[in-house]
């Protein structure tokens, strides 16, 4: 892996521009590499044939690691290939295995040249042994600092150290951080909010796919965390005309006296619909990768006697309004009587918090990690608005979405919110 920027420590192969077996000549572009700064073209430093690709597209490698071998067509590259360090961990679940090198039977030729492997580059990082986490970024240097005891405790408890923020000097993860991480779900089952920032709940219902977080995504994440904390929030507010939604609610509830659909149920449904249209918002930042969920599992904040809890409406995108309404009511009741099972209040992909019933016009909510965003819903109230150059009275409602900037950028969030508003203002979109 060549050094392509002054601060680069590792690079991700964005695209191979040559296939195994292709002829390459010195100076010819070989691959595109994502560095922490930008996507750069890597040029071949030797003439020959691209014999073997060791780091596939989407995979990362530290500086100096052999990523491919260029040699004569019949040269024995077995030793070079076998000397190459173990494949870096790749989070992609459908990773295709690199076939084991096949020793060439041809007589040895002049030494094959390892592509772009600088001799002075640092040694490859050790393979994760289950204790020392690899290259997590909690300190300034990007190296994870963790006490030996904490490392061992985390390994034993199955806690991903990368999900923790160390409380020791220089961000060192120490015993008490692990103890806190271990004890939280048990000690305060009714306080999902107490989950440490960034901690990944073990239970989640929605299927998902993991895609390597690009270098630029990781750099953004690192920078923003440094700026305002582990989950860098930003907020998008919009005002929504709710007359049609209110009408729809009235209409539906008139159909059947048993149906008691709330505005909030509609909001949940609309959020789910918008999320399916904007999968980049139905996502979670996981340090080295970004997790995209297939379903919209919506957490619904419910105030209870001694706090709040967010039961999850699974796959809200696939449920009808009446199903959602029934489920929310039932979940909320059990939440108030503290009868929720852990899997019923963890693993949402997006949350909704509604304080409208308290007459709150507008507020910001704190993201429930590792979710990517939360929507804070204010009270619906009649307001004069301008429509077609006339002042009219409309039922208006302000919503503010808090976004995890590590995964959602401003425009992404704005587009989502735009869709959300569009549907809510014209609920017919739900059936279109």
């Amino acid at each position: 892996m060549p050094k392509l920027s002054p601060t680069m420590e590792e690079g991700q192969i964005s695209r191979w521009l040559k296939k195994e077996g292709d002829k390459v000549s010195m100076g010819e572009p070989l691959a595109e590499i994502d560095t922490d700064k930008a996507t750069m073209e890597m040029q071949a430093l030797a003439n020959g044939v691209l014999r073997k690709i060791l780091i596939n597209e989407g995979q990362s490698a530290p500086l100096g690691q052999t990523i491919a071998v260029i040699g004569e067509p019949d040269e024995d590259i077995a030793s070079l290939v076998s000397e190459a360090p173990a494949q870096p961990k790749v989070q992609e679940q459908k990773e295709t295995d690199v076939p084991p090198p096949v020793p060439d039977l041809a007589p040895p030729q002049p030494q094959a040249k390892a592509a772009a492997a600088a001799s002075s580059a640092p040694a490859p990082r050790p393979v994760d042994n289950g204790r020392a986490p690899q290259a997590a970024a909690t300190s300034d240097s990007g190296r994870m600092i963790v006490s030996p005891l904490a490392a061992r405790m985390a390994a034993e408890a199955g806690i991903d150290l990368r999900s923790l923020q160390g409380s020791g000097p220089g961000g060192r993860i120490i015993k008490r951080d692990i103890e806190a991480a271990i004890s939280q779900p048990k000690a305060a089952p009714s306080y999902p909010r107490a989950v440490e920032p960034g901690q990944i709940p073990q239970i989640g219902a929605s299927p998902y796919r993991d895609e390597p977080a690009s270098q630029i995504r990781q750099t953004i994440a690192k920078r923003l965390v440094t700026s305002i904390g582990p989950v860098p929030h930003f907020f998008l507010t919009t005002e929504i005309e709710m007359d049609r939604a209110a009408e729809m609610r009235k209409g539906i509830n008139a159909l059947d006296p048993d149906l008691k659909i709330s505005i909030n149920d509609i909001i949940i449904k609309v959020v789910a619909a918008a999320l399916i249209q904007h999968p980049e918002v139905n996502a979670s930042f996981q340090e080295k990768f970004v997790r995209y969920y297939e379903h919209a599992d919506i957490g619904v904040a419910v105030a209870i006697e001694d706090g709040l809890i967010t039961p999850v409406v699974r796959a809200a995108d696939q449920k009808s309004l009446s199903q959602i309404a029934t489920e929310v009511r039932e979940l909320a009741e059990r939440a108030r009587s503290k009868k929720l099972k852990p899997e019923e209040y963890t693993g949402a992909t997006f949350s909704v918090s509604n304080l409208g019933m308290f007459g709150i016009d507008e507020f910001t909510a704190v993201i429930n990690p590792p979710e990517g965003a939360i929507l804070a819903v204010g009270a619906m109230s009649a307001k004069p608005v301008v429509r077609d150059n006339e002042i009219v009275i409309r039922q208006m409602m302000r919503v503010t979405m808090s976004c995890d900037h590590r995964v959602i950028d401003g425009a992404t969030g704005a587009k989502f919110l735009q869709t959300f508003r569009k549907i809510l203002e014209n609920p017919l979109y739900l059936v279109v």
Binding site: R131, L149, A150, R152, S167, G168
Partner: protein, 327 residues
């Protein structure tokens, strides 16, 4: 149990062992007619006479070697250095003769000898008379090194040292001779060498302290307890062989260690303890092992500088807080 000083406890141990075994004799500068420069041998000359309690010329190398020679042929000398500072003159005999004789004679000549006397920091006697030398002696296989911190330990360990068949360096702390404590009356009371003592149990931080640092560490532990930090204070008592297991067990419980010592930090017993903890309990450490050592300078004379050179309660408290991640 009687409450007596360390000085009296050592005196009792010497008296009892002189009375118990004809082969034991006490030799050193001013040990007999003067009753000992620090009065540890008070009354012994009167009681046992000049054959058993022997004043020497000021000739440390000479009488240390004489003692080793006598031990080669069956006696059990107790050689007193007026202070361990003067043992530096005798190190050839202690190290090249006493420590190695058994080995280089293929197991034929063991050296049952005790070299004892005050050591460590004294009160305003400057550089040549105030220093901790235990890490020197602990370095050499063949020697055993003992440092008591209480009257009971002083008595029990000195008796064991005299009865031991190997050369023992027995370092008494010059400032601690007057420290009082309970000592069992049993004349056969001994404390085995090589066994650490947990002076105070605790769960948050282990403080390993020896000699003068033990009472200081206990004071620090008391202060910290009031702040909600529970310290375990371990006194190895024998520096070589070092009862590292007791320390390791404690570290596995507390995950944090402070080693307090009077000696200079470089190549100290504390360095050794830290290394062994790292080697044997790395995965139990929640913080780096922290040493609180004497200043890395010759001991100054001026009172304020001397105080700065010797670890005190505050420095131990600060070190404990550092490893416990308490601001």
């Amino acid at each position: 149990m009687a409450t007596i000083t360390i000085r009296e406890a050592l005196n009792q141990a010497l008296r009892e062992e002189l009375a118990r075994d004809e082969k034991v004799f006490l030799m050193g500068e001013e040990v007999a007619e003067y009753d000992g420069a620090y009065k540890v041998s008070k009354g012994l000359f009167q009681e046992f006479g000049g054959k058993r309690v022997i004043d020497t010329p000021i000739t440390e190398l000479g009488f240390a070697g004489l003692g080793v020679g006598a031990a080669m042929v069956g006696l059990r000398p107790v050689i007193e250095f007026m202070t361990f500072n003067f043992s530096i003159l005798a190190t050839d005999q202690i190290i090249n003769s006493a420590a190695k004789m058994l080995y280089m004679s293929g197991g034929q000549f063991n050296i049952p000898i005790v070299f004892r006397g005050p050591g460590g920091s004294a009160f305003q006697v400057s550089s040549q008379h105030s220093q901790a030398l235990e890490s020197w002696y602990a370095y050499f296989p063949g020697l055993k090194v003992v440092m008591p911190s209480t009257p009971a330990d002083a008595k029990g360990l000195l008796k064991s040292s005299i009865r031991d068949d190997d050369p023992v360096i027995f370092i008494e702390q010059e400032r601690m001779y007057g420290n009082k404590g309970e000592v069992p009356d049993d004349p056969d009371f001994t404390i085995p060498l090589g066994v650490a003592d947990v002076k105070r149990e605790g769960k948050d931080v282990t403080i390993v302290a020896r000699s003068l640092m033990v009472p200081i560490a206990l004071k620090a532990a008391e202060q910290l307890a009031q702040q909600g930090v529970s310290c375990e204070v371990i006194d190895p008592r024998t520096i070589r062989p070092l009862d590292i297991n007791t320390i390791i067990e404690s570290v596995k419980k507390t995950n944090r260690v402070v080693v307090a010592e009077e000696s200079h930090p470089i190549c100290s017993v504390g360095s050794e303890i830290a290394t062994q903890i790292m080697e044997r309990a790395f995965d139990y450490l929640d913080a780096p092992v922290k040493r609180v050592s004497g200043a890395d300078v010759p001991m100054p004379y001026a009172k304020n500088l001397e105080d700065l050179a010797i670890p005190d309660v505050n420095r131990i408290v600060a070190a404990v807080k550092e490893v416990a991640y308490i601001d």
